[in-house]
Symmetry: C3
Subunit: 173 residues, 3 copies
């Protein structure tokens, strides 16, 4: 496995294996896991536990459902990988909390190039289905798509994961 | 950037950057933009304005929510690029207007190889989610998928855009 | 066309051309078609007839809405291709019948490496849209994604079909 670049974006559908792929990129190194998930119900608690069980002991877990940019700034140390899982849940949390989503995304995109890496951002592709009936879901798709494009522009590597298999969409490493 | 082939199909999910990618293919050239969108509500008006603001002055805009094949025939001049955005909205308009969708698609597929290019068709991938509950949405997915396959067969280049990044699915240029 | 490996997974969205692509892989050879579809309503009957009309005379059709692993074991003969279309319908049938889906998937994944090939499994990508409102649809997406990952791990070739065009995600042939 080649050395991790400063910023990697890992995209994929639900249960595509994108989180496992991102974790394999880090391997056995000491790393920080920034979880944007909130265990608000039993199903989500189970999902979080399922993901957590797959990681090793050398991981520090930080919860950042809303203040992701602050959490990144607080934990970024050169050479210690940070894995954020996942960006679409963060967007969803921002929307539910009534935050200014474009402003929060702009803050993140401004901060990312200033932080030491490696940073790996995992996110869900959500815009490949029928246009949703409700305006909130359409707005969410728009936010996610725009954020993915903005991150992809500044990332050194962008990977699309399908059935656990990685496809390099961008590789400047 | 290499010269544009006679027919290019640009596919991608919602907010994948497919329209911007298609516009970058054309660059600063004089070009015709065929919009299939209809500004029926405030949200769609905003989306159209957002897209329009991204294009340059050298573009002529033509609206063709239904008579797309006629509009292509009327504006195709060898060497002047035409960008159609997007095919799935055209299909949606045809369905809402009660048109014979397979017949309209057959007419388009018959006409395309006879027209001078370059022509760039942008379309949404819509069939990668859960099977929709309602039959109309399922029929729409079927029309879109079949149209994409038919266009891909006659196109010289087919590009899948993910997070603004192009992936060549077919390249005969 | 190169010789078929023992196990191929063909993925794609709805109407992506994945079934036609899988059938083209087999060509004019004698083959077994295992259909997981059940003709429970007129729409599904039409879909099955549409698919069947596209195949040649040298095909034996077997229906296996639930007992897919048994059907594979019963019909696998070295050198005679088997095409299963499709895995997501099988998962859907298992769920509707109240079966233990993870157990059925584990049985299949255990059996596949013991069977002579070539075997081609076709399946729908279903997890690239907005998170569905209902828990059953979310569970279905999870089952499908996990099954795709498990099959991809043991398959020699994994192909993603977009607009009828194949993209090799894995190729160990």
């Amino acid at each position: 496995m080649t050395a991790l670049p400063r910023l990697t974006l890992v995209l994929g559908g639900a249960r595509s294996g994108k989180s496992s792929y991102a974790e394999r990129l880090i391997g056995g190194q000491e790393a920080v896991y920034i979880a944007t998930a909130q265990a608000l119900d039993a199903e989500m608690t189970e999902r979080i536990a399922h993901h957590r069980a797959g990681r090793g002991k050398a991981w520090t877990t930080v919860e950042a459902p809303l203040e992701l940019t602050d959490a990144l700034a607080a934990h970024a140390i050169a050479g210690r990988p940070i894995l954020v899982d996942c960006m679409t849940l963060w967007l969803s949390n921002l929307i539910l909390a009534g935050r200014d989503v474009p402003a929060a995304c702009a803050d993140l995109i401004e901060a990312l190039p200033t932080l030491p890496g490696p940073i790996i951002l995992v996110s869900n592709e959500v815009g490949w289905g029928i246009v949703p009936d409700n305006a909130l879901a359409r707005a969410f798709r728009d936010h996610a798509g725009r954020l993915h494009q903005a991150i992809a522009t500044i990332a050194q590597r962008v990977v699309l994961v399908v059935a656990g298999l990685p496809l390099a969409m961008k590789d400047q490493t």
